[in-house]
């Protein structure tokens, strides 16, 4: 059982998805991050969580956590006015 692997079909799909994510352009990331008000809010939360996670792991000073998030706050503010 320790040598058991998920079906190759599933692994191929997940690897293809991982390639899609890793190979995405910045414009695509930005578009996905601002697709809706909900995704923009989730993006903000994710970025803060990510910076906190990495900063805690490497014991980085608070400056790293406070780096201006992406996308810019003006765009986020505008998106939050839109209905989801």
């Amino acid at each position: 059982m320790t040598n058991w692997q998920p079906p190759a079909e599933l692994l191929r799909l997940l690897e293809a998805f991982a390639d899609e994510i890793a190979g995405s352009s910045n414009a695509e990331v930005e578009a996905a991050s601002t697709a809706t008000g909900a995704s923009a809010r989730a993006t903000m939360e994710t970025l803060f969580r990510m910076r906190e996670l990495i900063a805690d792991a490497i014991d980085e000073p608070a400056e790293f956590k406070k780096r201006l998030p992406f996308p810019d706050l003006a765009a986020i503010s505008e998106l939050r006015q839109r209905p989801n």
């Binding site: 998805f17 190979g23 990331v29 996905a32 809010r41 939360e45 990495i54 490497i58 996308p71």
Partner: protein
Amino acid sequence: MERPTVTAPAVIIAEEPSRDIAAALVALSSADLLRLSALARLWTRGMPETLSWADVLQEAVARALDGSRKWPLGVPILAFLSGVMRSICDDHWRHEAREARVIVRSTEAADARADEVGTSHPDPERVVAAAQALSDVYDLFAGDNAALKIITGLADGLTAAEICEVYGLSEREYDTTRKRMRRALLRADFDWS
């Protein structure tokens, strides 16, 4: 036509043996951080609720920082951390499988059966879980016929050209659909459950 595997722009890769993981992590752009979180959510899908994508990512970062996982030369850091997270999730499933086998081994009669299962066949629960995971992936794009065709093609190991030929997709339709799928995977509120 887009290829199934594309290269991320401005990737951060290891250049020398003494490379500094911490410096590379700090240098990640916001877009890279979002990609990394999307990768974490991808590999963590289907895991118990007690184990979040952030937990898996934190463990991957910790293993990279303490050197228990070496960053190979020339490998982009996102690809490296993606591989570590995948490995962590695989380890979790193997651990679960071992735990289940220990329970089965509590009786002598079951011991023989556990050995048989352990050496040759996956347990039914894992088979069901794998089938469910595959079904979940298809459900993510339910209603998007072009996406479902591409997913089926990718699962079968077909190239982009083969997918277009087999499923009657134009190059433009293929590229547009891949872009739509990519955006969905990148969304921070994308729900894998």
